[in-house]
């Protein structure tokens, strides 16, 4: 978000009612987020007390919960089930009357719009985009929905820039947020102690001029921008590959996936009801008992209604798969042909409020996968350019196995501590070639790298004295998608040193243990002495993880199982509950393991592997790590089996 300091005002949170009073002048009603029935809905706001202060939301496919937040923030709850179309395009309104006048006469009259004067408070960037789309659909053509237009014109839009996101958010993929850029009168960004408020229109200018707060300081404006940027990073931008999606989707009208999703879809229309851009309606009649006075009502309908495409002779979309295909192709493809834009703004409501948790992001990836997955830009990597390195200081070295040690480095740039589990860093020592190493833990002040002496550069690193300065670039690449595990059972399968890139994932799961189902760690190593993190394995077992271990070759002290990792998994049924798998180890081990997991009932979209290839630049420029259509460093190293398809395990690629 770009806010010039001179334009922005700072309003302390305790003065928030002053803004509400301004908005309510002249009898205007303020509509905003408020807590009702375990969710945040849109209701009348008369004081800041009506806002969901101190609450946060947790959202996932088919799941929504309010949880106590941290501190008194008023707008920490993202989108609730209701979009603003509730007020711009109400669910049911009378639109016309038709009267029989006797002697065969008739009078037809539209019902004139009578829009309430509203201020919409807390409109998110995705919602503003949705209003813009409905503007095009309902007022941008030859014929105009007068009721909608009048409601839009009568409303003031007070936006809130998102300083928090939930797992269902994907505005970044659709190019609609989280930054609020246009279409608003005011935009608020919430900080710990108040709001940075900027105007986006003449109406907004007049409101800002009368706000009691002081001009926002450069530090406050900077904090506001940083908070929204952090939200962008948290969402990532790889949920939906929107580029070229229209053509890819329209090429897949015969995909077998339509029937498969129809097996799960209830055709209940919840997705279209909560969608902020869906505009399909039906007309219903209300008549008096004689049919003299008849009122036509417009009410929300849906392409998921069985009767929506019915004519006298039959139904044009009789099957559930027809109706699901109609919705998805309209929203993400033919909407472009009709209105010049996607019909999706990435608000994620259809994912959260689907009663059976169907996730459009997964369906799109399965039906119309991009030719190449979109590389996830790591959150603020330190020193990303080739040849530039952050300087980190070696603070501690601990032995793991005969040839492997864990190094603890204090980076100069804290961005190195903010990586995603599964991401890697490029390690550089003067005069030695750079090499990639996955982070094996992100500490408060230290980055943990678990390194095996495999060549001169890694051997030199392990031999470095404490206090040595090491060059680092990263975190780089695409890590483990931990959000896909929310509410699901988790299988982690590791082979040998492959446990190292998985340890930050375990840390992440344990930090939020309640939000995941059962967790199984299946760990195989050549010998008992080749196991990493031996003391932690026991600790994890005591913290809600089932730890199963196996070794190829026993030694005198070993009382556990002997064999290969797959034998820890092949008797299990993963189809009884939704599961996600994360696998890392030698490629042959990953092939065998993923086969067992797939046979056990985990879909390919939810089995993730981390691939190893020769890397030099780590940022997709040098060409070393190509595999088929992928640069492993940029597009991976973590991939789902569905993304890899036939490329996974093929020799000589």
């Amino acid at each position: 978000m770009v806010i010039a300091a001179a334009e922005a005002t700072f309003l302390p949170r305790e003065r928030f009612d002053a803004l509400l009073d301004l908005l309510r002048e002249g009898g205007r009603t303020v509509i905003g987020p408020t807590v009702r029935d375990g969710a945040v809905v849109l209701g009348e706001i008369t004081t800041a007390q009506d806002l969901p202060g101190g609450w946060q939301d947790e959202q996932g496919p088919g799941r929504y919960r309010l949880t106590p937040g941290h501190g008194p923030r008023l707008f920490d709850v993202v989108n609730g089930p209701q979009s603003w179309k509730q007020h711009t395009f109400p669910p049911r309104i009378p639109v016309a009357t038709a009267r029989r006048d006797g002697d065969g006469g008739a009078t037809f009259a539209p019902i004139a719009p009578d829009p309430p004067r509203l201020a919409f408070l807390g409109v998110r960037a995705c919602e503003i985009a949705a209003l813009g789309i409905q503007d095009r659909v309902l007022t941008g053509g030859t014929f105009v929905d007068e009721d909608y237009r009048s409601r839009r014109e009568a409303a003031i839009v007070v936006a809130v820039a998102c300083t928090r996101a939930v797992s269902t958010c994907f505005c970044t993929s659709m190019g609609t947020g989280p930054e609020v850029r246009e279409g608003h009168d005011l935009v608020l960004t919430e900080l710990d102690d108040g709001f940075v408020i900027a105007s986006g229109s003449a109406v907004g200018d007049r409101l800002v001029a009368r706000l009691p707060g002081p001009r926002a300081t450069a530090a406050q404006v900077g904090a506001a921008s940083a908070a929204v940027a952090a939200t962008r990073a948290a969402i990532g931008d790889d949920a939906v590959a929107n580029e070229g999606l229209r053509d890819r989707l329209m090429d897949k009208l015969d995909s077998p996936r339509w029937a498969e999703v129809a097996d799960r879809c209830l055709s209940c229309a919840n997705c279209t009801m909560v969608c902020p851009t869906c505009f399909c309606t039906s007309s219903t009649l209300r008549s008096d008992l004689d049919g003299t006075v008849n009122v036509a009502q417009r009410e929300w309908d849906s392409c998921f209604s069985t009767s929506f495409a019915r004519v006298a002779g039959g139904n044009f979309r009789p099957a559930r798969s027809d109706r699901y295909r109609q919705w998805l192709t309209h929203k993400f493809a033919t909407w472009y042909d009709q209105f010049g834009t996607s019909g999706c703004v990435g608000c994620g409501r259809c994912v959260t409020w689907c009663p059976v948790g169907i996730d459009v992001r997964e369906e799109l990836a399965a039906i119309a996968p991009p030719a190449m997955p979109v590389g996830r830009v790591p959150p603020r990597p330190a020193a990303a350019t080739t040849g530039r390195f952050d300087v980190a200081t070696l603070r501690a070295v601990g032995p793991e196995t005969a040839d492997t040690k864990t190094l603890r480095l204090v980076p100069g740039d804290p961005a190195l501590l903010g990586g995603i589990p599964g991401q890697f860093v490029m390690v550089e020592q003067p005069g030695l070639p750079a090499f990639p190493i996955s982070a094996s833990r992100y500490g408060e002040t230290e980055l943990f790298l678990t390194v095996r002496a495999a060549g001169p550069a890694s051997a030199a690193l392990l031999a470095s004295p404490l206090g040595s300065e090491i060059g680092l670039r990263g975190p780089l690449g695409r890590g483990w998608p931990i959000d896909r595990a929310l509410g699901r059972d988790v299988v982690i399968a590791a082979g040998g040193i492959g446990l190292a890139p998985l340890r930050p994932l375990v840390d992440g799961l344990l930090a939020d243990r309640d939000r995941f189902g059962e967790i199984l760690l299946a760990y195989g190593a050549r010998t008992p002495g080749d196991r990493l993190f031996v003391s932690e394995l026991d600790a994890w077992a005591g913290r809600g993880i089932e730890v199963a271990q196996i070794v190829d070759r026993s030694d005198p002290g070993w009382v556990g199982r002997v064999g290969v990792v797959t034998s820890l998994l092949d008797q299990r049924d993963f189809s009884r509950r939704p599961s996600v798998a994360f696998v890392c180890g030698p490629e042959a081990m990953m092939q065998a393991t993923t086969r067992v997991l797939r046979d056990g009932g985990i879909p390919e979209e939810r089995i993730f592997v981390s691939l190893e290839r020769h890397m030099e630049c780590g940022i997709g420029l040098c060409g070393h790590c190509q595999m088929g259509p992928f640069f492993i460093c940029r597009d991976g190293p973590v991939f789902s089996l569905a993304e890899l398809g036939d490329f996974f395990g093929r020799q000589g690629l």
Binding site: D37, G62, P91, L285, T306, P355
Partner: protein
């Protein structure tokens, strides 16, 4: 010229609780207007005046549960120009249709002190299994607005507007918060026909499908999700209620009944507890 003859309405019942026909009396604001436009020739809940027909509209409540009712409904059909079934019993068999999976004499013996005094069929079935039906108003009880729309549509000459979509759509239009998503409460709204005004979710309860299945419901899809993703115990039993005999719910009800204990054992156990 004489005033045109008013359409003659009859209201009759088979095996039922009378709650649905009372919905007509509950239309208090419209009752006088209805009385001016229709002749209520048979409605024992409202008047001791009786008529055996013919009827322009016959509202039939209740399921066919006794040998007499099976004969009676055929006679009623012959005397009705339009026969409209009202309520879960008449349209789907009702709660009493759960006996269709049970050994009827055993149940009867476990309930009544003199079971031989009771003459009932082995099954309780919807009217549509016996005679042709012109329209159906579902629900336990039916919705007054739908009844009014039926009468209005008859007068105006249009097809009654009785939506066959999911309860969810009305829930969302009314701005309700989904109890399944936000509370984890099992709710049959996604597979149930709307028309009730989404009553139960409005009181933070899950829908129990008293309006019966919507058009082409995905019962298996919802059941799988509730059982596997939401760890809901005994999902099949959710369907084994007022409309459990509706064809779309029948498989679920059958599994639920099969999992239940036979009545004789239940009876002994409750006696033991009481003693």
């Amino acid at each position: 010229m004489d005033a045109p003859r008013l359409p003659r309405i009859g209201v009759v019942k088979l095996a039922s609780c009378d709650g649905c026909q009372l919905t007509l009396l509950d239309l208090e604001d419209e009752l006088l207007a209805i009385g001016e436009r229709f002749e209520l020739v048979e409605f024992p809940e409202a008047s001791s005046r009786r008529s055996t027909g013919p009827y322009d509209i016959l509202l039939v409540e209740g399921s066919v549960s006794t040998p007499e009712q099976a004969e009676h409904i055929v006679e009623l059909r012959a005397r009705a120009k339009r026969l409209v079934t009202i309520g879960a019993c008449a349209t789907a068999g009702g709660i009493q249709a759960l006996r269709n999976w049970a050994d009827e004499p055993t149940w009867r013996a476990s309930v009544y002190p003199s079971p031989d005094d009771v003459r009932s069929l082995a099954t309780a079935t919807p009217v549509s299994e016996h005679v042709a039906v012109d329209a159906e108003l579902p629900g336990c009880p039916i919705d007054g607005r739908q009844l009014l729309e039926l009468l209005t549509a008859f007068r105006v000459g249009r097809r009654p507007q009785l939506p066959d979509e999911a309860v969810c759509m009305e829930c969302k239009r009314l701005g309700r918060v989904c109890v399944l998503v936000a509370e984890g409460t099992p709710c049959l709204g996604p597979v149930t026909q709307t028309g009730c005004g989404a009553l139960c979710p409005g009181y933070a309860r899950g829908c129990y499908a008293c309006f019966g299945p919507k058009q082409a419901p995905n019962v298996d899809g919802l059941s799988r999700w509730l059982a596997i993703e939401r760890s809901t115990p005994e999902v099949d039993r959710l369907f084994a209620g007022f409309t459990g005999y509706a064809p779309a719910f029948r498989d679920s009800t059958e599994r639920a009944v099969a999992a239940m204990q036979p009545p004789a054992r239940r009876r002994r156990r409750s006696n033991g507890e009481a003693g």
